[in-house]
Amino acid sequence: MRSVLLIVAVLLLIQICAGFEVSSQSVRPGEDITLSGTASPGERVQFRSSFSMVLPVVNGMYSYESTVEIPQKPNRFSVSVKNVQDLNLGVRMGIWLTRRIEATGGSVSLSHRDVPPGRYTLKIFGNALPGASHVKVDVTAETEVRADQNGGYRLAIDTSGVPEGEYRIESAGDVKVVRITSASGSRGDSVTSEVSETESVETVSEVRITPEVVRWYANMSGLRMENTTQYQEVEAQLRQRLKGGYWKIIRRGEPLTEQAGDCEDEYCLVRGVGACTSCREKELAILRARSGDGVKKSESVESAAGGINSSIESPEADRGIVRRFIDWLLGLLRMVLG
């Protein structure tokens, strides 16, 4: 009898520790990731996914907008923002709904469960702490899937809104990391994840992509950069240009690789090691065209969109922006109607 129990226990442990599989280790932004595995028949298997991103601060403000796909209930989403004075959350459900939360100690942490499923446009924005150049955003999404009668389960996760970089998925102690990346190799995202930022530093090597560099690039290319959206477009263009090593940025005084003398401006855009002459000529022609009067937006971002699978809310009330808005309306109605 004891041996039977032992076998059952071992089988249970094997089942619990079986983990899960992901359909791909690397997907393009917006593509689905399918999670599959085995559990007890009818068992609810919980998943927790998370990612981080670093938003640039422009004129003291940060901003991120994307389309989000909210999966079926039950679900829970959490957002943590650091280096900020406040956090504004906007959800477009036909009409734009916005909620503002003031930060405590430079941070805002919000959590919301059972967001109505659907596809929404989401915007995160607000005032950064004085002097901050970046704002760090951590997003966590939780959902669950029920195993069928044979114990099998499959769950598709929409990665809309998830920026390029690492997308971490956890379930029952098992952790998988999926890489969100453009298959073409271009960096079109308007947001830099922590991982991708590290990569970009490696790619560019000499000069990091800071707001100062982006501003310089906008001036050099004749691009408008009067708001956060335009900043993100310019940054995306710059990253796209630098991707692959055809071009690189050097600082004032550093030797030019293709022109005589040193860089005399604050920064200079020069051909990198990997560029071929024909590519460089083509790029120069494009650059000259851009620095003229016309800048086509369509050139700018290949995948600026992307969604955070989240909707957000205050932990103390455990309700989301939509729910809070509706509660507010309900309160008004109760008062008005007696």
């Binding site: 009409i95 916005t98 109505p116 915007k123 507010w328 309900l330 109605l333 008062m335």
Partner: protein
């Protein structure tokens, strides 16, 4: 732009003759504020004059002047509005009586009424003829505190709109500051249609039913879908007496005049303040 204090003349013209009412009356409210609300429609061709709603504060003197035609003697009564009874009134006209205090009988067909103050709530001001039939009724809103708005004169479509909301008093109390922005043209296209269970909110080809007696979250979710996409809603919780509420405008918004409505609600205390202002939305840069 501070909201201009307007001495409102709110006119209630009787348009419910088919509902069994007689005569005609005009009611003037000398008040500091009013809000524009969508038109209420009932029956086939009947509209209820809810376009302008006078708003008083609790400690404010209420001055009402009224005139009636086709009758030599009228009375005026003010009652707290019961939504369900109002709906029945709308359905059945004068057959339903309100739970009201004793009417103030007036010997003339015109007169003035001065009330020192009323507690916050929704009231119905009715003019009755000598047979106690309602000639005309107009809703009136009383809120706890005065609200002031700080709104820029214009905003470019697609930009943020920061609305400063300032409340007289009630500090250190948890409150929700809410601001709604809708274009005037959308207001004119919006209708409130009373039904058996509540109000049907209709905008262009969309509509949703809003139960008034027991409003539910799913019903309100449906209502959100009805609201015009050009509009915006913002909210902020605060214990302070002021809040900066940010609204997000859509780059596709039609340019023109928008109505900005701010309301402050305190859980357990009800509606604290209500104020409306206007702003011009400029077209987004090409």
């Amino acid at each position: 732009m501070k909201v201009v204090v307007i001495s409102l003349v709110c006119i209630a013209l009787l348009s419910v003759a088919d509902a069994g009412l007689t005569g005609e009356a005009i009611i003037y409210f000398n008040c500091n504020d009013f809000i524009k609300v969508p038109r209420m429609v009932y029956g086939d061709n009947l509209t209820y004059p809810l376009d302008l709603l006078p708003v008083y504060t609790e400690n404010q003197t209420i001055d009402i002047t009224f005139e009636a035609t086709n009758t030599s003697e009228v009375s005026l009564r003010i009652s707290r509005l019961d939504a369900s009874k109002m709906l029945r009134f709308v359905e059945n006209g004068s057959e339903v009586r309100f739970e009201i205090g004793a009417p103030q009988n007036l010997s003339n067909a015109a007169g003035d009424l001065h009330l020192n103050s009323l507690t916050s709530g929704v009231y119905l001001v009715s003019v009755l003829d000598n047979r106690s039939s309602i000639i005309s009724s107009v809703p009136m809103l009383v809120v706890k505190s005065n609200l002031t708005l700080d709104i820029p004169e214009n905003v470019t479509a697609g930009d943020f709109l920061n609305v400063g909301v300032f409340l007289d008093g009630l500090g250190n109390v948890s409150k929700i500051f809410g601001v709604c922005m809708l274009s005037i043209s959308d207001y004119e296209c919006m209708k409130l249609i009373p039904g058996n269970d509540g109000l049907n909110v209709s905008f262009r080809n969309r509509s949703a039913s809003l139960p008034l007696v027991k409003p539910s979250i799913p019903a309100l979710m449906e209502m959100l879908d009805v609201l015009p996409e050009d509009g915006a809603v913002g909210m902020q919780e605060s214990n302070e007496t002021k809040a900066d509420v940010l609204l997000m405008t859509s780059p596709e918004s039609e340019s023109g005049t928008f109505i900005v409505t701010a309301a402050v609600y305190a859980p357990g205390r009800g509606l604290i303040g209500l104020r409306q202002g206007r702003i011009e939305v400029l077209p987004a840069a090409p």
